[in-house]
Amino acid sequence: MLRWILGGRESHGAVEKSPVLCIGEEQPQNWFTELQVLKGHFDIVRFLVQIDDFRCASAGDDGLIFVWNVETGEKLLELRGHSQQITALTTLTCTTEDATHTSLISASSDRTLSLWDPDTGNRVQTISDLQSSVKCLLVLERLCVWVSGAAELCVWNKDFQLQCQRHNQSDTGITSMIELPKNCIAAAMDKEIVIYRLTVSTDFSLSMAEMRCLSDHQDNIRALILVDDGLFASGSHVGELILWDSTDWNILAYEHILWEESQADTQSEIRLTAPKPSEMSIQHLTTNGKLILAAVGSGLYVYSVWTKAVVAYRRVAHDSNILHTMLLSDSELMSCSEDGSLRMWEMQDLPLPAEPASPGFFGMWSFGRSGKAPVPPTKKIMELPSVRTLELTGDLIGHSGAVQMFLSFGEMGLVTCSTDHLLILWKNRERQSHLRSLALFKKLEDNDGLGHSVF
């Protein structure tokens, strides 16, 4: 376990405005050269959910859910029904023999849950009069049920029938949930993670039992993710990152992230300020199975699952708190923040001050980064604390408010949603103009030349 506290909590000194990280206008690697502004919401847009290859749904504080065609930027449907802000949105996929059908489940502060058909816009099911508003939703594909987390934990089947229910003592209720192996659920509430197990009895009725309560966090748990089958991770408000074994629920690693106050480090930048709790808060965690990316305050922190060590970090990645992150590949990542921008990063090897270590040593690192080889990971502890750096490769500026979330559709583009009520669809102009050309010549053919064009 690597403790990485290099600064003291004592110095709650002057907090200076962090230097603005600016890449400038020349961004050759940034291929988002076209954008479309999608209007419709009239309040903060908080959630984006991918429905299929070309559709996504957005929801926000206005209680509206819109279904968008990401290819064209068209608004396909408006799902109206909730009277208050949407608190959770997720997809529910039903797979039958011939087709898979995706529906949307939404939860709102008006204490209702709704099931929507994103093809027709129909509100298929509604549950109202819940005791508390649902804060998170989790679909358990294997059991064909879904779970809503609020002050109580409810398990529903796909026909919106309550299967079982469990009340909690906590005030705040469940803030996030993940699915664990062996029909277990980890639910985060306050500073604890509670493990529940669902059991299917012989008459197909479900029952739920609390298995364990993990209370190792010092502060409220902000993020909870499943890393892989054997591992899940949680992050707290004070910057604790804990890796748990997902079967026996033991701590595998404990990382307390406190930005160092002053340290002659190999990092290119040095902070001289003391951390505030909010600056240490783990806002968001994301993983690709090998790396965990934690958004800590306005900084980014890449943690390797194998080495249980920090691989790269950037203490001031944004001007303000980071709200959402994504690992695009083993070396590329994205983050969006309250400062209204979305930034793209690349993990690059630091130019080593001296001659590089032995080729074998170096090669192992590169393997760890690319992760292509199926060789089992060597659990060798690295002596170098951090050998890579996060370099800004591009940023997307467009929103005038905090970027709440983003969703990548691969080469088709990227959707961002923001406090300024807008969604922006970022695209590649080359690709779009190619598509337009295709459409143009298609239309030309349909119209039988220009002569018949309608103007």
Binding site: T33, I397, L450
Partner: protein
């Protein structure tokens, strides 16, 4: 007495049967005439004319004093100079075209109205140096000899060729005016008839009473001479009543005549309206039968035989008449006794033209003629070039939106004639609905007129037209408005004020015009039968046939039986239909050539040969022309290739698309608004290469902020002056123009509002696809902007604020700096990506020798249309975008595209960006012509470093 005027020879040469053999050859419309006047000095002829400008003369052949001039348009004595209008009236009226047929035709008991068709003649007076297109028409007047009053309208010009070459257009427009007059006249005539009828009825009843009294007073069975005289008088009155009833019937039948006038455009709405209205009328008669009953009884007690006769005739009478009487009974009009002896011919005062026609119709006609006069200002060269320009632009509809958005105006004009007819027509509707009656300027018409997509779009355009006045509103207003930064903003910029103004204008017009119209309604409840008299404008005959209605049967026979079909009787109804069809076709797409006019014309109207040579081939040309342009024409084909004569095919198009200088959207047209007379005259002069007059009365033109609405030509030229100044003043003008043309939003930052606005209006010339009302330009903004604003506006004038609010703005400037270029007016700096291309060097030459805005404007226009043409080529060349074989990847097409730009067009990286941007706009427009698609518009940009240019 009068020497016969030299009627100018006009014959039509046989259409050369050669079709467009080579479909790849450049269509004739694209070619530019080298010089239509190879041998002659176009100005030579005008030298000895006694008038300075063309004018329109309206004369009448008065039965009392002979030919006399009534009115000239423009109504300015200076125009005619020393030209003897009286003498000229004499000459033009002496072409006595009408064998007017009056009196009792054999086999008929009643006098017949002659339905004389208009005639069109070109004649000249070489001594006076005057030539004229003369349009004769007759109006009905109950008091006139034979009920007809001959009139003529003449377009007088010193240039014979001008009249010859504009013959069709002149004919079309004068036909419209004539129709308008005649419609009003029929209305007035019918009204007069009804009044007269009532007088007669009243007289009869009085006479009957007197006669009855006398008969009772006298001894039985013996009639005194006095009684006999009374009886004769009564008989005369009754005869007169029948005659007048018959006249009324005849005049009501007028619309049912077969129409052969190819000028009389039909519109569906008119037809349906007509039908529905006649149906309505029929219904009305049915209901009116009952209220008549008391009348019967009342009359029945008067005279028995009179009553029976009445009843008998009533059975035979037309419905209309009953209706007339029925309605007439309730009128507030007090009938007057009619003297047995009519007044002497020379004692009575003849009605004036205004009285003969309804006031509204008269005004509409004068308005039409004024417009005609305006649109024919300038010499033939100018008219011709303008027409050519317009025709060329019409052919390039796909790219016109880039820099010549106002073309839509021409499309609209395509249906001009139709609209005008409808205008008059729908006046009737309006009258009934007590709406503003006749308004012959395009904007209000669109509110009620049928037409098509082009029109609706135009309506939007004019609705959204932000007024210059709004733009002058205080910045704070706009701050609030723009803060919304969404659709609302757009609305707020499309000032209500201009729209309001328009509405007000309409209303005032309405109130003004409904004054004479309304009394009619109250005064004449017998309006009902008249309505169908006035709906008839759809079809009017042009032929020289003087057609007399000899009863319904003959009418149904298409008038072939008419005794006086002097000319061209083979022109039958089917022909008329054909023409009508063509008229409709023309109505639909505006570009199709006019229907064949020549046949009905050639007998009476003589004209120079060249005029109509090309109609057939032209019609052939239009389609292939368009189609062949879907493939890239070889570059050399843009070269001038034409013999002078062939310039005239455009005539066809022109006949359709006549300029409406009235329209506020007439950007390229003569910008003569209702209040813009000076402007229009001025621009006409400019067009014909006269000196630009320095002062205009129009504050619209004087305002440097004129771009909010649709810019007029004059405003554009003024803007071009500003642009020229900018180019000469700033060495980095090149870069600024490049930013605009490559789609990077340019922010003009400055403290002084006037300066910023001036610069913005100058630079707005270079904004591609600015939108009809320059929606892509924001002249003055005083609040921070956001991304949506950048997406919407391509050119923004921004206020530099020193206050804390200014820091907000600076923040947005720096935040979005990657999307914008900043032209700082105060510091005289430009921050934008570096541009090193040569494409724009031509239009942004720091050391240009051009001195005048209008010259520079034309220069810029030609350069920009060159760009648009290249963008068109780039957009629609398949292999530049898509792989030609399945083995190829997208890179191959990409490579070809780059090769095309670099090698074939010789453009560097940055110049290529201009074309790519323009091409993107073209394809976007092609894919979504309406722009109001479901999907939001996309906004593309590049990530490049900017540099700071200083003086």
């Amino acid at each position: 007495m009068i020497g016969s005027p030299d009627v100018v020879a006009f014959t039509k040469e046989e259409e050369n049967g050669e079709t467009n053999a080579d479909s790849w050859a450049l269509p004739e419309e694209f070619s530019v005439p080298l010089n239509p006047h190879v041998n002659s000095n176009p100005w030579a002829k005008t030298s000895f004319a006694k008038f300075t400008k063309d004018f329109i003369l309206i004369s009448e052949f008065s039965e009392q004093v002979g030919p006399q001039p009534l009115l000239t348009i423009p109504d300015d004595p200076k125009v005619c100079g020393t030209f003897d209008l009286n003498y000229f009236s004499l000459r033009i009226m002496s072409v006595d075209y009408q064998a007017s047929f009056v009196g009792h035709p054999p086999g008929s008991g009643y006098p017949r109205l002659s339905f004389v068709e208009d005639s069109r003649v070109v004649l000249g007076d070489s001594k006076e140096g005057a030539f004229a297109y003369v349009h004769h028409l007759t109006l009905y007047d109950l008091e006139a000899r034979g009920f007809v009053r001959p009139f003529c309208m003449a377009y007088v010009s010193a240039d014979e060729r001008k009249i010859m070459m504009q013959f069709e257009e002149l004919s079309r427009r004068f036909s419209q005016a004539s129709e308008c007059l005649k419609t009003g006249n029929r209305r007035a005539f019918a009204k007069e008839l009804q009044r007269k009828l009532r007088d007669l009825e009243y007289t009869r009843s009085v006479l009957q009473k007197e006669e009855g009294l006398q008969r009772e007073a006298g001894p039985q069975g013996i009639y005194s001479a006095h009684v006999v005289e009374k009886a004769n008088e009564l008989a005369n009155v009754e005869k007169s009543i029948y005659e007048h009833r018959d006249l009324l019937r005849q005049i009501s039948l007028y619309p049912c005549r077969p129409r052969r006038d190819p000028h009389a455009a039909t519109c569906r709405k008119c037809i349906t309206d007509c039908l529905s209205e006649s149906k309505e009328l029929l219904d009305k008669y049915v209901t009116l039968d009952d209220p008549l009953k008391p009348n019967y009884t009342y009359r029945g007690e008067r005279v028995e035989d009179g009553g029976s006769q009445d009843g008998e005739s009533r059975g035979k009478k037309e419905d209309e008449e009953e209706g007339v009487e029925g309605v007439g009974r309730r009128s507030s009009y007090t009938p007057q006794l009619i003297k047995a002896k009519p007044a002497k011919c020379f004692d009575k005062r003849l009605k004036t033209l205004q009285e003969l026609c309804d006031q509204t119709f008269y005004e509409a006609t004068v308005e039409l003629l004024k417009e005609t006069e305006r649109s024919f200002r300038g010499d033939l060269c100018y008219l011709h070039t303008r027409r050519l320009d317009r025709a060329l632009r019409r052919k390039q509809q796909i790219t016109n939106f880039l820099f010549e958005e106002d073309l839509g105006e021409d499309d609209k004009e395509g249906g001009g004639s139709i609209r005008l007819f409808c205008a008059v027509n729908h006046t009737v509707d309006n009258n009934r609905l007590a709406c503003p009656p006749i308004v012959l300027c395009p904007q209000p018409l669109e509110l009620n007129v049928l037409d098509l997509a082009s029109e609706t779009s135009h309506t939007q355009g004019s609705d959204l037209r932000p007024g210059g006045s709004q733009l002058e509103s205080s910045p704070s207003d706009q701050t609030l408005e723009t803060h919304e930064s969404s659709e609302e903003t757009k609305c707020s910029f499309s000032s209500d004020r201009s729209v309001e103004g328009q509405v007000e204008g309409d209303q005032s017009l309405a109130s003004m015009k409904s004054v004479p119209a309304d009394p009619d309604l109250t005064f004449d409840p017998d309006l009902t039968p008249e309505q169908d008299l006035t709906i008839d404008m759809e079809r009017q005959s042009t032929s020289e046939e003087a057609e007399t209605t000899a009863g319904e049967d003959e009418v149904e026979n298409g008038g072939d039986v008419t005794p006086l079909s002097l000319l061209d009787s083979e022109l039958d109804a089917s022909r008329g239909d054909e023409c009508e069809e063509q008229g409709e076709k023309r109505c639909a797409d505006g570009t199709v050539t006019k229907p064949e006019l020549s046949a009905p014309l050639d007998t009476a109207c003589c004209m120079a040969q060249e005029g109509f040579l090309y109609e057939a081939s032209l019609r052939e040309d239009v389609e292939p022309g368009l189609r062949s342009s879907s493939y890239p024409p070889p570059p050399h084909s843009l070269v001038v290739k034409q013999e002078p004569q062939a310039t005239l095919p455009l005539q066809g198009d022109y006949a359709v698309g006549s300029p409406h200088s009235e329209s506020p959207t007439a950007g390229f047209d003569l910008p003569a608004g209702p209040h813009g007379d000076a402007v229009s005259r001025c621009s006409a002069e400019e067009g014909s290469d006269c000196t630009m007059s320095a002062s205009t009365g129009s504050d619209r033109a004087a305002s440097p902020l004129g771009y909010g609405g649709v810019m007029t030509l004059r405003q554009r030229k003024k803007a071009a002056q500003g642009a020229l100044r900018f180019v000469r003043q700033y060495p980095f003008a090149l870069q600024a123009l490049w930013c605009l043309l490559s789609g990077r939003t340019l922010v003009v930052l400055g403290t002084d509002e006037g300066r910023v606005r001036r610069l913005v209006s100058a630079l707005a010339l270079f904004v591609p696809a600015p939108g009809r009302c320059s929606e892509r330009v924001q002249p003055w903004l005083s609040c921070p902007f956001n991304l949506t604003d950048l997406q919407r506006w391509k050119l923004i004038g921004l206020q530099r604020v020193a206050s804390p609010a200014g820091s907000n703005m600076l923040y947005s400037l720096s935040r979005y700096s990657r999307y914008i270029s900043i032209l700082d007016v105060d510091q005289k700096t430009l921050r934008c990506p570096p541009y090193r291309g040569r494409l724009l060097a031509n239009i942004a030459d720091h050391r240009t020798c051009l001195r005048r805005g209008s010259t520079y404007f034309l220069h810029v226009q030609s350069a920009l249309s060159g760009l648009a043409a290249r963008a068109f080529l780039l957009t629609f060349t398949h292999h530049l975008h898509l792989p030609v074989s399945s083995q190829e990847g997208p890179e191959a097409a990409e490579g070809r595209r780059r090769g095309f730009l670099e090698e074939q067009l010789g453009l560097g990286e940055e110049d290529g960006q201009i074309l790519l941007y323009l091409s993107g706009l073209v394809s976007q427009r092609y894919l979504q012509p309406d722009m109001g698609a479901a999907a939001a518009p996309s906004f593309s940009f590049t990530y490049t470093t900017s540099v700071l240019y200083k003086i």
